[in-house]
Amino acid sequence: MSVIIPPPQRRKPLPTFQASAKEALADTQLRRNLYKATHTIRAKRAQVVGEMPDWQELREAGRALKERVLRHLDTYLLQLEEAVQRAGGQVHWARDAQEANAIVTQIVTEHEAREVIKVKSLTTDEIHLNQALATHGISAVETDLAELIIQLAGESSSHILVPAIHKNRSEIRELFLRTLEVDNLTDNPRELANAARLHLRRKFLSTPVAISGANFAVAETGTVCVVESEGNGRMCVTLPRVLISVMGIEKVIPAWQDLEVFLQLLPRSSTGERMNPYTSLWTGVREGDGPQEFHLVLLDNGRTRVLADTVGRQTLNCIRCSACLNICPVYERVGGHAYNSVYPGPIGAILTPQLLGVENASSLPYASSLCGACYEVCPVKINIPEVLLYLRGRVVDYKQHHNALLNRVNPESVAMKLMARTFASRQLYEQAQKMAQLGQLPFRHGGVIDTLPGPLGRWTAMRDLSPVPRQSFRDWWRARQTTREGMNEATHQPSAETGKEGQL
């Protein structure tokens, strides 16, 4: 199998989550923006999901439909291709980012366009499409307000749904004054939106080629679906002569009927609305209405590797709603940039290591306290904690096999192996308990442990630790047993020790 599905590309590993998180945690403006945004959206989601007595049934149907599609992905992609072609569209297959970018660039160049308009698409971010087009002298204009903000600021997205969540209104006002042709502007959100509207309308009316992603593509009918709020999606998929949609292969769904499930799950999970403002569904090309040329680019770029992994495969259920980001206590505090990848948050922590290879994103599976809130809100029931644990195993495996020598001196690995041996034997375990009772003495001050050596110092840097009691539970139990054997049971006394030890 590994011969047919290529292994991950060799690349520079991502910066560690720990390092990026530390920086993000210190950014008070970011913390404030994230707190407000995540709590607002959580409340909205809870409200509209609470209205639905059949929410759990919808989730189960969503999960099952994804399972059906993924287990028969080749069949459904072929069906999709045929349906799109029958409807006058063209289908291209791209094995990786470079291939996808080449296909798109070729189409744009054939139409002699120097500028294209874009609808927000994580998939195009993933393949760095804008940069690829730029090297051919083609500029890609982002038309989502947040993406426009990000593009003008020269930054990268920090949330899959609200990419500029890390910016507040006055930062945006300053940015627009600097980059758009406006003279004065307050930081009133309505005015800011209007400035963006005017700037982009000119583009919408004159650009011949548009690029979008796709939320869903229906295999049965060849219908492609884009879900949005602002109307720029409608502009891009309706006005230009040529439309190119780049889509991950996992986005295909079996039949038209299946939209009844996903169009209920997605809006309530993402923006916390009963329905998002605009959803566009088109099938191929229609004379006199919309683009006269339609290209669908089917992208692999590592997805077949995820598909091949029977535990990891469920990651491809994702419909990019961002409910997991919004509920995650880690994401809420560190934001998206700390994950150093196109896909942040809980889904990013499992998708990115699988797409890039665990060795290149080895800190991401650990960027979680395993609280499980993400699994509870995932509309397609991706068991994110399960996949995180599985990927942690793959990271450890990798370190043990590819870095065997280095791993032998890795303190964590050494400690874990030692503890495993200790736990495997009662005698060793009880000895270790005794050692802890003695060994704590240098670290104990004023009845509490307030320093610890090495990596354990990270605990005591910010917390105290209750001291190791002189008598372990089993010591107490044995003493009690001995006492009872020597006395009448009815007269046994509880231990003389009261609550001096134990929790602080």
């Binding site: 998180a21 195993g393 793959r394």
Partner: protein
């Protein structure tokens, strides 16, 4: 309002249920928080249960399994299953360790391709309970005869909420405690940031999460913060102590075991 806080179990009539309970103390309770174990034993015996302690037990393997050392965890899993194989009922004062047995053991057996182990795990899992589940679900009790005249707030740990789905069992037990001043914890279902080795590997993020949990606890003006997991309490209590906040942490067993004659504070 706790997620999943619904009346989950049909209430048994108040007939006395007497069982042979094998105590699964957990490695860190054994070593660091024996009080919780003592309280569990005293409480169960007061309620007419017969408690034994299989001394061969050490650790369920959760730390290894959750940190990615699943291979190293497997012998510990086998060992645990072996030790408790003959138990009538297994009770642990730890939602996370019971969660490990219920949730991860079947998976680990499947990953190892070991059908025999999988069968043994399947036979064991229905007999393993976290303490509050055992009291409310198996013994059908809410009032365990406790007396604890202190202001208490309860933190529902992630394992108890989302893996075991204990619902509001712990709160019902606490409400029935005589003399208690039970106050609701704001944003109770948010993670405290412990997450096992997460507290060390991602210490900064862990602390950031803890800082909000602490704020919510302090806002209740409670004297005691209780939970079903000493692991989370170690993290919360460690910071409360460092800050000299004047709030202590107690395992719920210690509250439920307290009577007029015997307090765990």
């Amino acid at each position: 309002m706790l997620i999943g806080a619904t009346q989950r179990w049909p209430f048994k009539k108040k007939e006395k249920v007497a069982m042979n309970v094998s105590l699964f103390i957990t490695c860190f309770n054994d070593t660091l928080f024996p009080q919780a174990g003592r309280a569990t034993v005293e409480l169960l015996e007061r309620l007419g249960q017969t408690v034994d302690f299989p001394e061969e037990q050490t650790c369920c393997g959760q730390m290894h399994y959750n940190t990615g050392y699943q291979r190293e965890a497997l012998p510990l899993i086998r060992r645990f299953v072996q030790i408790f194989r003959g138990a009538e009922i297994v009770v642990a004062p730890s939602a996370s360790c019971v969660g490990m047995v219920r949730d991860a053991y079947p998976r680990a057996a499947a990953e190892a391709g070991d059908e025999k182990l999988a069968a043994e795990v399947a036979a064991l899992v229905p007999r393993v309970y976290e303490l509050t589940e055992f009291l409310v679900q198996r013994l059908g009790l809410e009032d365990v005869g406790a007396y604890f005249p202190h202001r208490v707030t309860y933190h529902p740990t992630c394992h108890s909420l989302r893996v075991l789905h204990v619902g509001d069992a712990p709160l019902r037990l606490l409400r029935a405690v005589r003399g208690i001043d039970l106050v609701e914890l704001p944003a109770a279902e948010e993670c405290c940031g412990f997450g096992g080795t997460f507290a060390l590997k991602n210490a900064d993020t862990s602390m950031a999460m803890l800082s909000d949990k602490l704020r919510n606890i302090l806002d209740t003006r409670a004297e005691v913060c209780a939970a079903s997991d000493n692991s989370c309490l170690m993290h919360i209590g460690g910071a409360l102590h460092r800050q000299r906040a004047g709030v202590r942490t107690l395992h719920i067993a210690e509250i439920l075991a307290s009577t007029e004659g015997r307090s765990f504070v």
